[in-house]
């Protein structure tokens, strides 16, 4: 008889929980948008963001979401993907906003009408990191020299290994560009031997893999600094024009996907490029890591090679 009661209890718990779950879902998640969300205490709204892993792995986005959410009565739902996956989700209308760092693919995304209203909100630099022993001897080379050397030494010296993101992320795109700039055909590099491995995962996880393998990898400086405490890897190549790393946000085109929460998307992006938030970005992590992880885009548009409007004009 005990088992009957147990079964009954389990069933009741299950039914109650399911009821709770569906009760939770029946509240409209996307009510008609109120343009003045800051002043109108309306119903909380959802904003779904697909982001490049570096903004998430460094903790920056959680930090910013923690300030924006309560202030705008918004529930920011963030899924961390590589730039490629984030753009793919945007192309299918599965998210409201994409936050990425690959200018070339962003341009295609905008030209094909999948996204609108790009704003540039932050930048930092890519760096080539590797084991302190630096078996290929690339320290202080230019990025393309360093890549050439890693490739050549990798052919003969088993201690020289390079870990690629291999996930169509923005960092992976930059790595491919650097191989191209160094005069190599990327598909040949990929298959040229055991010195080249692909992690297929986010920046943080890739740094951990490179660390375990005593290998070289390309990273954005922000994620590297955030993870440095647990790594023996050191920065080896930190300077070069082709290492600039620019982060943008775009709204998924409401003309293609009417479900996009345009108003809240605009508020989020406009808030990102506002002087106060730019200050937050500039100071993020300084106390903990001794230097900023990201730089504000606002007054640096010339350095970034983008229009001034793209860094500071609010989306109308």
């Amino acid at each position: 008889m005990k088992s009957k009661r147990l079964l009954l209890a389990l069933a009741v718990i299950g039914v109650l929980l399911t009821a709770m779950l569906f009760a939770g879902c029946t509240t409209p998640t996307k009510p008609p948008t109120t343009p003045m969300a800051t002043t109108t205490p309306g119903e909380q709204q959802d904003l779904l963001i697909a982001t490049t892993t570096s903004l998430y792995d460094t903790g920056l986005l959680d930090d910013l979401a923690g300030i924006f959410g309560p202030a705008y009565n918004a529930n920011l739902r963030i899924t961390a993907k590589g730039t490629g996956q984030a753009l793919e989700l945007g192309q299918n209308g599965d998210v409201d906003v994409v936050m990425v760092h690959d200018r070339a693919r962003e341009d295609t995304f905008l030209q094909n009408g999948y996204g609108v209203d790009r704003r540039v909100f932050a930048y930092n630099y890519f760096i080539i990191v590797g084991p302190p022993s630096d078996p290929a001897g690339i320290k202080n080379m230019t990025p393309t020299e360093a890549f050439t050397t890693i490739y050549e030494k990798g052919q003969t010296d088993p201690a020289v290994v390079f870990v690629s993101r291999g996930d169509a992320s923005g960092t992976h795109a930059r790595e491919q560009l650097l191989w191209k700039n160094a005069g190599y055909n990327y598909s040949l590099i990929r298959t040229s031997g055991p010195w080249y491995v692909e992690s297929g995962t986010g920046m943080g996880a890739t740094l951990n893999i490179a660390n375990e393998k005593d290998a070289y990898t390309l990273s954005d400086i922000g994620t590297f600094l955030a993870y440095q405490g647990n790594l023996t890897l050191v920065p080896l190549v930190t300077e070069g024009d082709d290492l600039l790393n620019v982060y943008s946000a775009m709204i998924v085109n409401p003309a293609k996907f009417p479900d996009t929460n345009v108003e809240l998307s605009k508020e989020w992006i406009n808030w990102l490029i506002s002087p106060d938030t730019q200050n937050l970005i500039a100071n993020y992590g300084v106390e903990q890591y001794g230097q900023p992880l990201f730089y504000p885009a606002r007054d640096n548009w010339q350095l970034l090679g983008v229009s001034q409007a793209e860094t500071q004009d609010p989306i109308p």
């Binding site: 929980l17 959802d46 899924t79 299918n92």
Partner: protein, 243 residues
């Protein structure tokens, strides 16, 4: 040298475990949310799965139709349905451009329930079939000879097989709560502090992705909870089977 390195390497693990326990003892709200969400998603999936599987399993167990053996064989093959494949299939169907895109299920707990329901269906159905078929023939004959209607016959045999079926449900629960492939593809490991019901961060996805983020204490704490859940399930199964 190796010994010194070994001992030195143990200290961050010990530290992580220590921090994990202090998180557990302090009932860290993040841990409570993640655990509650995991339990709700899996319980819902198992409940839905059970409601479908028991009638389905009964129909197949006592049904006489062409291809019955093939169906059973197929169901048993699906015990090992790779969860990432379930995740991929569900993802393709529920994304905006997919056939069920208008339902807005991607990156929601409801979407994850669908994935886990697909996972538990063959397990509960298949084991229900085995349980019903295993009910002693003499018992079945007795029930029939007492002039039971088909419905009465089914209820009686289900009663006979109840412990095995309950064990099947517990087994399915254990597999669903510990799966990660479908949960990451469908859910996306979203923390949504503003609204519990739009969060998709479960025990397994948090361990997978937050470890990469360096949050070791959290991951260890969640791992301990998963193990405790597995322990509870095993205790239930063994209590039930010892009857």
């Amino acid at each position: 040298m190796i010994m010194a390195g070994f001992l030195e390497g143990l200290s961050p693990i010990a530290q992580g475990i220590q921090q994990a326990f202090s998180l557990l003892i302090s009932l860290d709200p993040q841990i409570l949310r993640i655990t509650a969400l995991s339990l709700i998603i899996t319980m819902s999936a198992v409940l839905i799965g059970t409601l479908i599987s028991i009638p389905l399993g009964s129909a197949i167990a006592y049904g006489k139709f062409r291809g019955r053996n093939a169906v059973i064989w197929l169901i048993q093959t699906l015990y090992a349905f790779p969860t990432v494949v379930i995740g991929l299939i569900v993802f393709l169907f529920i994304r905006k451009t997919g056939p069920f895109g208008s339902l807005d299920l991607l990156f929601t707990p409801q979407g994850m329930i669908i994935g886990q329901t697909i996972l538990v269906l063959p397990i509960i159905t298949g084991l229900t079939i085995s349980a019903l078929v295993a009910v002693d023939l003499t018992i079945r004959d007795t029930i029939s000879s007492l002039g039971a209607t088909r419905f009465q016959f089914l209820i009686s045999t289900l009663k006979e097989a109840r412990f095995a079926i309950l064990a099947a449900i517990a087994l399915a629960f254990g597999r669903a709560i510990s799966e990660v492939g479908a949960a990451i593809i469908i859910g996306g490991n979203i923390a949504s502090p503003g609204n519990f019901w739009t969060s998709t961060r479960t025990l397994t996805t948090a361990i997978t992705l937050e470890t990469g983020k360096g949050d070791i204490a959290l991951s260890i704490a969640l791992g301990i909870i998963l193990l405790l859940i597995a322990l509870v399930i095993n205790v239930i199964i063994s209590i039930v089977q010892n009857r």
